[in-house]
C-alpha cells in the first residue's frame, strides 16, 4: 500500500508521464495526414511515403506509445510503492 506522503509525488510523476506520452502522439495524429500529400512524392518499399507513414508508420507509433507508457508507468508505480501486491 502506498504511503500517505508519497501520494502527491506519485500523482505528479504520473501526470507528467501521461502528458509526455499523449501530447506528441496527438500532435502526430493531427499533423501526419495533413502533410501526406507533399510526402507522397517520395517512395519507400514501393509505397508513396505519405501513405506509408499514415498507415504503417502510424501503427508502429501507436504500438510504441502504448508499450513505452505501460513500461514507464509500471516503473513509476514501483518507485513510489503504488503497485499492486500480486
Amino acid at each position: 500500500m502506498i504511503e500517505r506522503k508519497e501520494r502527491k509525488p506519485y500523482w505528479r510523476h504520473t501526470k507528467w508521464q501521461v502528458l509526455a506520452s499523449l501530447i506528441p502522439f496527438l500532435a502526430i495524429v493531427v499533423v501526419l495526414p495533413l502533410y501526406s500529400q507533399q510526402l507522397n512524392s517520395s517512395r519507400f518499399l514501393g509505397f508513396p511515403l505519405g501513405y506509408f507513414l499514415a498507415a504503417h508508420g502510424f501503427f508502429v507509433i501507436a504500438v510504441v506509445t502504448v508499450a513505452s507508457y505501460v513500461n514507464r508507468q509500471n516503473a513509476i508505480d514501483h518507485w513510489h510503492g503504488a503497485h499492486e501486491d500480486m
Binding site: 500500500m1 502506498i2 501520494r7 506519485y10 500523482w11 504520473t14 501521461v18 506520452s21 499523449l22 502522439f25 496527438l26 495524429v29 493531427v30 495526414p33 495533413l34 501526406s36 500529400q37 507522397n40 517512395r43 519507400f44 518499399l45 514501393g46 509505397f47 508513396p48 505519405g50 501513405y51 506509408f52 499514415a54 498507415a55 504503417h56 502510424f58 501503427f59 501507436a62 504500438v63 506509445t65 502504448v66 508499450a67 507508457y69 505501460v70 508507468q73 509500471n74 508505480d77 510503492g81 503504488a82 503497485h83 499492486e84 501486491d85 500480486m86
Partner: protein
C-alpha cells in the same frame, strides 16, 4: 485483499483450449476445401460453414455457464491481457469495419485511413487516461462507475439511458452486417437471418453472461484473425511471392499511382468538411487510391479521427471488458494488445483493398488487348461485381463493385477455390457476432444493474441479479433484431453515429471524473445530458439538411459543449464530499483493493447489521 488471489487466478489451460478451437476451425476449412475439390454439393458445404462454427460458439458459451455474480458480470476478473486485447480489438472493429471498411479502403483509398487513425488513437487514449483507472474502480458497467464515483443515482440512470442508444445502434448495425454476410452462405430471407443471428447471440451469452461472452468472443476473434490473415497471406504469396500482405503490396501501390490516372481516374478535390465514405450497394471507382482528401476533406479527416477515437475510448460496450482483467498492470497491457491486433486487422484489409484495386486496374488495362478475365464473370455470378458484358469498352465507369463484397471478391479474383471465400465469410460473420454479443451483454448489464436496480445502491441477491440479467439478454437480442428488421440503415453510418454520440456524451465526463477532482455530480449530469442532446440534434439536423456538416462527424460537435458546461457548472457551484474525494484518490493509485467490490461488501455488511 479480502477478495483472495484464488478467484483471480488465470486458468493455465487457456492456451490449450483455444489451440484446440483454432485447430478445429482450420480442420473445418481444410475439410470443406477437400470436399469442394471432390465436387460435393456446394449448398451443403456453405450451410456447414455457416452452422458449424455457430454450433461450436454456442457449445463454448453453454459450457462456461455460471450463476456467480463476479463470474456473470466480470468473467471472474481472470481474463489475461492477451485475450482481453484480442477481444477488445475485434469488438471495436466488428463485422462493419472489416467488411464495409475493406470497401471504404477500396473506394476511398487513403481517406479510409480515418477508420484506422480513429481506432488506434481511441485505444491509445483509453490505455493512457482511462483503462487502468476504470480497472482499479472495477465497476461492471459504465453508468455504475459514474454513479458510484459521484454518489448520484440520477447520474447513474441518465448515463444508463444515454449509453443505451449507441449500444442499440451498434447492435443493429452488426446484426444487419452479419445478415448481409451470412446471406452469401445460406439462402433465407434477410429478416430470417437477422432473427437467427440474434438467437445465436442470446444462446451463446445468456447462460454465463460476461463469462460466456468472453470465452466465446475469444474463440470468434481467433476465427476472425485466422480467416483474414490466412486468406490475405495466401493471396499475397500467389501475387507477390512474399507472405506479408501488409508490406508486400508496395510495388502494386506504385503501379496504381502510375496507371490509374492514365486510365481515366481523375484527381478529385472536395471542400474541407466533406465526409463521403462509400454507401451500401454497387458503385464505380472515382478517385486514385493514394490521393489524400478526395472524398473526405482535411478538416473532416481530423474531426472524423477524433469522433471515432473519443467514441472507441469511452465505448460502454468496450470499457467493461477492462474490468475483467486480473490487475491494473494487465489492463494496461491488454490495451497494448488491442492496439496491435486492431492495427494489424486494418492494415490487412487495406492490403486486401490494394490487391483488389490492382485486379480492377488489370481488367481495365487488359481490356484493349483481349477478352475480359474469367474471374470477373465468376464474381458477377456471385453478386460481387456488376458490369455490362456487351459494352464495347468498360473502363473504370462500367465496372461496379459491391462495397460489402470487395473483401469476398479477393479469393475469386485470385482464382482460389471457393472454400477461401467461405472461410472469409465465416470469419467476418464471427466478427459481427462478437460485437453484437458485446453490445447485447453490456446493454443487458446496464439495464439490469442501473435501470431496474438503479434506485438502490445495495445489490440484489446474487440469484435474482443473474436471472434478471438473463432476461434482459433475451429482451435486448429481440429488440436489436426488431430494430434491424424495421429500420434498415447502412451499418457503417450507424456505427459512426454511435461512436460520435458516445464521444460527445461520455468522453468529457469520463476523462474529468479521473483527472479533475472538482467535477461535481451536477456538472457530470449536465455534461452527459447536454452532450447527448447536442450530438443527437446535430446528427438529426445534418440528416435533414439544415446543418451543413456531414452526419458522421456532426455528432462530435456536441463534445466541446458538454465539456464547457460540465466545467462551468462545477466551478460555479462547487460541492465537495469527503467520500467522493477519497474515491478519486483511491482510483488514482493502482495498489489496494478493488473499489467497487469493497463498496459492495460494505453495503452488504450494513444491510446485515440493520436486519
Amino acid at each position: 485483499m479480502a477478495f483472495g488471489a484464488r478467484a483471480r487466478m488465470v486458468n493455465p489451460r487457456l492456451g490449450t483450449y483455444f489451440s484446440i478451437f483454432a485447430a478445429l476451425f482450420t480442420a473445418l476449412f481444410l475439410l470443406i476445401l477437400i470436399f469442394e475439390q471432390l465436387r460435393l454439393d456446394e449448398h451443403l458445404l456453405k450451410v456447414v460453414f455457416f452452422a458449424g462454427p455457430i454450433v461450436i460458439y454456442a457449445a463454448i458459451g453453454l459450457s462456461v455457464a455460471s450463476n456467480d455474480t463476479l463470474n456473470y458480470f466480470a468473467s471472474g476478473r481472470r481474463v489475461p491481457a492477451l485475450y482481453t486485447g484480442v477481444l477488445l480489438a475485434t469488438c471495436s472493429l466488428g463485422g462493419t469495419f472489416l467488411v464495409a471498411g475493406t470497401g471504404a479502403f477500396f473506394f476511398a483509398g487513403f481517406d479510409a485511413l480515418v477508420l484506422m487513425l480513429g481506432t488506434l488513437t481511441g485505444f491509445v487514449v483509453m490505455a493512457i487516461v482511462l483503462a487502468p483507472f476504470y480497472r482499479k474502480f472495477g465497476a461492471f458497467t459504465v453508468p455504475s462507475y459514474l454513479g458510484r464515483r459521484f454518489e448520484s443515482r440520477p447520474l447513474r440512470i441518465i448515463t444508463a439511458v444515454v449509453a443505451a442508444v449507441p449500444m442499440l445502434l451498434v447492435l443493429s448495425a452488426e446484426l444487419r452486417m452479419g445478415a448481409g454476410v451470412a446471406g452469401r452462405l445460406i439462402t433465407a430471407s434477410p429478416n430470417m437471418i437477422v432473427a437467427l443471428l440474434a438467437l445465436s447471440v442470446a444462446v451463446s451469452t445468456a447462460s454465463g453472461g460476461m463469462r460466456s461472452f468472453t470465452w466465446v468472443g475469444v474463440a470468434q476473434s481467433i476465427a476472425v484473425f485466422l480467416a483474414l490473415l490466412g486468406v490475405a497471406t495466401t493471396v499475397s504469396v500467389i501475387v507477390t511471392s512474399l507472405p506479408i500482405p501488409q508490406l508486400a503490396n508496395g510495388p502494386m501501390v506504385r503501379s496504381l499511382v502510375h496507371n490509374e490516372v492514365r486510365e481515366g481516374l481523375q484527381v478529385v478535390n472536395v471542400w474541407p468538411l466533406a465526409f463521403q465514405l462509400p454507401g451500401e450497394g454497387f458503385a464505380a471507382l472515382t478517385k486514385p487510391y493514394t490521393q489524400p482528401f478526395g472524398t473526405i476533406g482535411p478538416l473532416a479527416f481530423v474531426l472524423g479521427t477524433f469522433a471515432i477515437a473519443t467514441g472507441i475510448s469511452t465505448a460502454p460496450w468496450l470499457l467493461p471488458r477492462v474490468a475483467a482483467t486480473p490487475s491494473v498492470y494487465e489492463a494496461r497491457k491488454a490495451l497494448g494488445w488491442a492496439t496491435v491486433f486492431s492495427g494489424l486487422a486494418i492494415l490487412t484489409i487495406s492490403s486486401v483493398a490494394v490487391f483488389m484495386r490492382d485486379f480492377a486496374l488489370d481488367t481495365v488495362m487488359s481490356e484493349r488487348l483481349g477478352p475480359l478475365p474469367k474471374w470477373l464473370f465468376d464474381a458477377a455470378t456471385a453478386h460481387l461485381v456488376a458490369f455490362d458484358p456487351s459494352a464495347a469498352r468498360l473502363g473504370f465507369d462500367g465496372l461496379k463493385f459491391d462495397r460489402d463484397g470487395v473483401l469476398f471478391a479477393l479469393p475469386v479474383a485470385t482464382g482460389l477455390p471457393m472454400a477461401f471465400a467461405y472461410v472469409l465469410i465465416a470469419g467476418t460473420l464471427a466478427a459481427a457476432l462478437v460485437t453484437a454479443s458485446a453490445t447485447t451483454v453490456s446493454l443487458a448489464a446496464v439495464l439490469c444493474e442501473d435501470v431496474v436496480q438503479g434506485l438502490s445502491w445495495e445489490p440484489a441477491p446474487a440469484q435474482s441479479r443473474v436471472w434478471i440479467m438473463r432476461g434482459f439478454v433475451i429482451i435486448v437480442a429481440v429488440c436489436g433484431a426488431l430494430l434491424t428488421i424495421m429500420a434498415p440503415t447502412d451499418p457503417l453510418q450507424l456505427v459512426l453515429w454511435a461512436l460520435s454520440i458516445t464521444g460527445a456524451s461520455l468522453f468529457p465526463v469520463m476523462i474529468l471524473s479521473i483527472w479533475w477532482k472538482r467535477l461535481t455530480s451536477v456538472g457530470a449530469i449536465i455534461g452527459v445530458a447536454t452532450g447527448f442532446a447536442a450530438a443527437a440534434l446535430a446528427i438529426f439536423l445534418s440528416e435533414s439538411g439544415t446543418l451543413n456538416v456531414p452526419s458522421p462527424i456532426a455528432g462530435v460537435l456536441g463534445l466541446p459543449i458538454s465539456l464547457a458546461l460540465a466545467l462551468s457548472t462545477s466551478l460555479l457551484r462547487p460541492v465537495r464530499t469527503r467520500h467522493t474525494l477519497e474515491v478519486v484518490r483511491d482510483i488514482r493509485v493502482p495498489g489496494g483493493e478493488i473499489i467497487y467490490d469493497r463498496e459492495m461488501q460494505r453495503l452488504q455488511l450494513r444491510k446485515h447489521v440493520s436486519t
